[in-house]
């Protein structure tokens, strides 16, 4: 039972804690898990989250792209310290604690399910302010001082195009629309960005904790890297993250103008052409990721149904790429 190890671990780093209750797994495959639990404390229980790779698993599911859970903890704490909506990190796991690799952070209450945030009345007051707020938050992330950052991979538009082309070709399934997008990306490669900053990498609706008051936390830093800051602004505009609200490019919440205004309010400059470039790249990336689910489905011994169904979703990004690159009159 994970509560035994967690209780022992929490007692060692949290003064006054007497144990944990209510541990429940929120999500996770074999290699990465997220647990929710409460730290029992005489002054009142504290909601907490454990993110971990269980003992025997690597701290990074794909070492070539992901910096690992310890780096994720560093980044979330840095963001928290800079006043950005990010949970406070309570503890980074040590091997002798028997919980694997990972960290424990404060549980930020709110909603992460994109469709609820876009439809439920509870968030009606938040929705109109989110695009601008997300612009300010992205600017804050991009302003985190490089000297304090953990070791991260460096990426660029040119490297990402090559990476996507390789991943697409590895699926060995012809997709003329993806070929068209790869050509467009190569022809429109903006070259090295004016500056290289921290890039969150998965900054989108679905990875945000939202309350009626707006953004409370940015989650899922697992593919953070150094690169073109416009990548984050393009990714959040990818149609797949609008969840049906296709006329509101920024996560289904609002207009690009609001996102850009929030970003520039925080003292940083937007390059709209680069943002569009990264939106096309992001649309293709999500499409290729869906396509690769087909292979995973075929290769997995239990043929998981969810992966099979995601394997039929690349066509969603094919129509979105056509709307971007070859709109009908």
């Amino acid at each position: 039972m994970i509560e035994t190890e967690l209780s022992r671990c929490v007692a060692a780093f949290y003064p006054g804690a007497t144990g944990v209750i209510g541990a429940a797994k929120l999500s996770g495959g074999a290699s990465q898990e997220t647990w929710t639990f409460d730290i029992v404390h005489p002054a009142g229980n504290v909601g907490a989250i454990l993110r971990r790779a269980p003992p025997g698993y690597s701290a990074s599911p794909s070492p070539s792209r992901a910096p690992g859970l310890e780096a994720e903890a560093d980044l979330m704490q840095l963001a928290h310290d800079a006043g950005l909506p990010s949970p406070r990190v309570l503890h980074v796991l040590k091997p002798e604690e028997g919980l694997g690799r990972g960290f424990i952070m404060i549980r930020v209450e709110g909603e992460t399910i994109a469709r609820k945030i876009l439809r439920d009345a509870e968030f009606a007051s938040a929705r109109p302010i989110l695009a601008r707020q997300l612009g300010r938050i992205a600017a804050g992330i991009h302003a985190l001082p490089e000297a304090k950052l953990p070791k991260l991979r460096i990426s660029s538009a040119t490297m990402e195009i090559a990476d996507l082309a390789r991943e697409y070709r590895s699926t060995n399934w012809p997709r003329p629309v993806f070929e068209l997008a790869l050509r467009w990306l190569a022809d429109h490669d903006p070259g090295p960005s004016r500056e290289t900053t921290l890039v969150h990498g998965d900054f989108r609706n679905g990875n945000l904790v939202i309350g009626p008051d707006g953004v409370r936390a940015v989650l899922d830093w697992e593919i953070a890297h150094l690169g073109d800051p416009m990548e984050d602004l393009g990714w959040i505009c990818v149609n797949s993250w609008r969840f049906g609200e296709i006329d509101k490019p920024v996560g289904g919440f609002g207009a690009r103008e609001d996102l850009f205004a929030g970003y520039e309010e925080a003292g940083r400059k937007v390059d709209p052409e680069r943002v569009t470039f990264w939106e096309v790249m992001g649309t293709l990336r999500w499409g290729i990721m869906c396509g690769r689910m087909m292979q995973r489905f075929r290769n997995a011994p239990d043929h998981p149904m969810e992966q099979a169904v995601i394997g039929r979703r690349p066509s969603e990004t094919e129509i979105d790429l056509l709307r971007l690159l070859a709109p009908r009159a």
Binding site: P174, L180, G244, M305, R313, S315, E318, I319, L322, R328
Partner: protein
């Protein structure tokens, strides 16, 4: 000759049973998975109905565009290669229309509720 009911009728009967009898009695993550499963069965019925005519038209367009004959996957590989090499692009007469037509046919099977698809369908009508 195989007997009736047809595959479409059989799958529809199973999907309807799952939807009306099993779904109301299912909770939590299993309810989510059941919905995913029913959606997959619905996709299969759409494919069985639409694939034949859609792919025949796709093959005819590809043969006209490429000037060669072959199976559908061979033709698609040839088109993909020619787009990758730059031999064909959006200025090529018929290419844009072909890609749109083919993509709309895919979505009619995969995800007819996708908002971009519904928008494009409405704009065309």
């Amino acid at each position: 000759m195989q007997d009736e009911p047809t595959p479409v009728e059989l799958i529809k009967a199973v999907a309807d049973f799952l939807r009306t009898e099993i779904m109301p009695a299912t909770k939590g993550h299993n309810a989510f998975k059941l919905r995913v499963g029913i959606n997959a069965l619905d996709l299969v019925t759409r494919q069985l109905a639409l694939q034949g005519p859609g792919e025949a038209a796709e093959a005819a367009r590809l043969k006209a565009l490429l000037g060669i004959d072959g199976s559908l996957i061979e033709l698609n590989r040839a088109l993909a290669d020619k787009i990758a090499s730059g031999e064909l692009d959006l200025n090529t007469p018929g290419l844009k229309e072909h890609l749109w037509h083919t993509t709309m046919d895919k979505l009619a099977v995969d995800q007819p509720n996708y908002a971009s698809y519904k928008r494009e369908l409405g704009d065309k009508a």
